[in-house]
Amino acid sequence: MVTPIKLEDLCAEIKTNAGCQCEVYDGVHGDHTLSITPDQLKPVIDVIFKTFDYCHLSAITVQQRKNQPDEIEVFYNFWSGSGFSLLLRLPMKSAKLPSIISTIPGADFYEREAAEMFGIEFTGRDETPPLLLPDEWDQGPPFIGEKEKNG
């Protein structure tokens, strides 16, 4: 059985090894969530993967809040005995994130899905064919834009 991690330990590890302060975001029920910035993503993930015996990436959850239309929220949901997430806020106009597939190859499909559905650009990885959408899809990311019309 994997021992659940404590939020304080995680924060301390990130602070000493990645050298960055992270805020705790307590909006999500069920998981510990740390709010970080895009340039902190790679060092923090390196720390997370090196510190804990077992840890996996459950999902990359992307969403756009109605009251903040020019912002995209990205959660990196991890699990290591208990769930914890990293929260990043990106500007809608230039949604760019460093790719983490060199550290976590399993993030490949999640990144591709996020790129297709929300138009996030993941830097530092090869261009790939569409994963879920049809090859001839030309209407842009389906989660962005036409939201209000149908919703």
């Binding site: 029920h29 996996h56 459950s58 949901n77 699990w79 208990s82 976590i104 190859p105 879920l132 389906p142």
Partner: protein
């Protein structure tokens, strides 16, 4: 020898659901492969934002044809967490009973497919015959063999009486002896062992790097099971025996799944025996207060992840579903190298593909 690419899918006798793979082979050796998903992508996450919480139960039930109940269960727990209500213990037990039945039926289905892929059609026929018993139970208690429509927000839609409990127990006892026989075959049939032992082993490091969960992870010695670790009710009150194996090969994956079937059968008997009395549903309001929640549960194929955000209306603002198959699929191209062409079916079967789950 020259390199040739053979297409497997989207239509191929090997696959029950559409998935496209290009496998590069040279003679009888597989060099590598690539995947293409999306043939059954229905945009369920997007659709869920346009339907009310109640309508969504029926939408989400249709994500998967095998593990439909665990999807709705997880969704309902998520909504109930946002509503701040706790469902009656009897409803929790009924949900868990259906989950375990579903696990038995999924694992038996899987075992049959593996047997068919390695040319053991007899085992395929026998396991699917046994699986029919589970479907009979499902039909008897919920009215649906595949889509059970068992859940509603605030509880379940039906109750079990003494008579039905007795019937289920009788069928389960019969099923138990059948599963013992199957286990015997898997452990002793020389040709089946020859085809699965040592095939495509996965190391725990790969499991960690690719985030693979469920029976595949447990067959590689990674001790995770969301029933025990995430402790959704009523699993916090039940003893769940987690089966692990250290080999990580196709045979270990078979062993883990068959043993899990046995554990689930025992769990079903415990659930029926210890089921508390009382109501099976509480009233739930239609509007869900603002909030975000993450729920993890153990589907037959591993960790099922739901993220749900409500903005205070009667429709979810965002529903994210991550199914275990998606993680396992990302490991598939890695597994499809340095193996024999004849091992492709074994490797594919070992993943326990559920493309409908992965595409959503």
């Amino acid at each position: 020898m020259d390199k040739i690419s053979i297409p497997i899918g989207p239509q191929h006798p090997l696959l029950k659901e559409p998935l496209s793979m290009m496998v590069d082979i040279s003679g009888e050796k597989v060099l590598g492969g690539s995947l293409r998903l999306g043939y059954v992508h229905r945009g369920i996450e997007r659709l869920a934002q346009q339907r009310t919480y109640v309508q969504n139960i029926h939408l989400i039930e249709r994500i998967c044809g095998i593990c439909s109940h665990v999807h709705t269960t997880t969704y309902c727990y998520a909504v109930e967490a946002l509503l701040g209500i706790e469902i009656p213990p009897r409803a929790q037990y009924i949900r868990a009973l259906m989950c375990e039945l579903e696990r038995i039926h999924s694992h038996l289905l899987w075992l049959g497919i593996l047997a068919k892929h390695i040319g053991l059609d007899t085992i395929f026929m026998h396991t699917w015959h046994d699986r029919e018993m589970v479907l009979d139970i499902m039909e008897e208690v919920s009215g649906g063999r595949i889509s059970h429509a068992a859940n509603q927000i605030g509880g379940v839609r039906f109750d079990l009486d003494e008579e039905k409990g007795e019937m289920i127990r009788k069928i389960l006892i019969k099923l138990h002896s059948q599963v013992e026989g199957l286990l015997d075959v898997i452990e002793s049939e020389p040709a089946a062992i020859a085809r699965t032992k040592g095939v495509a082993p996965i190391s725990p490091d790969l499991i960690k790097a690719y985030g693979v969960v469920g029976p595949i992870a447990r067959a590689s010695g990674v001790d995770v099971d969301m029933r025990r670790d995430a402790s959704l009710p009523p699993y916090d009150q039940l003893e769940v025996k987690v089966i692990t194996h250290s080999d990580g090969d196709a045979w270990a994956r078979t062993f883990v799944r068959v043993e899990e079937t046995r554990v689930s059968l025992n769990l079903c008997e415990t659930i029926i025996r210890e089921m508390p009395r009382g109501d099976v549903v509480v009233h739930a309001p239609r509007r869900v207060p603002e909030g975000e929640v993450i729920i993890r549960s153990e589907a037959p194929r591993g960790e099922l992840f739901y993220y749900l955000r409500s903005d205070g209306s009667d429709k979810p603002a965002r529903l994210k579903v991550r199914t275990p198959t998606l993680a396992a699929l990302s490991l598939l191209p890695v597994q499809l190298s340095e193996i024999n062409v004849a091992d492709i079916p074994v490797v594919l079967a070992g993943v326990d593909l559920c493309i409908a789950c992965a595409d959503r």
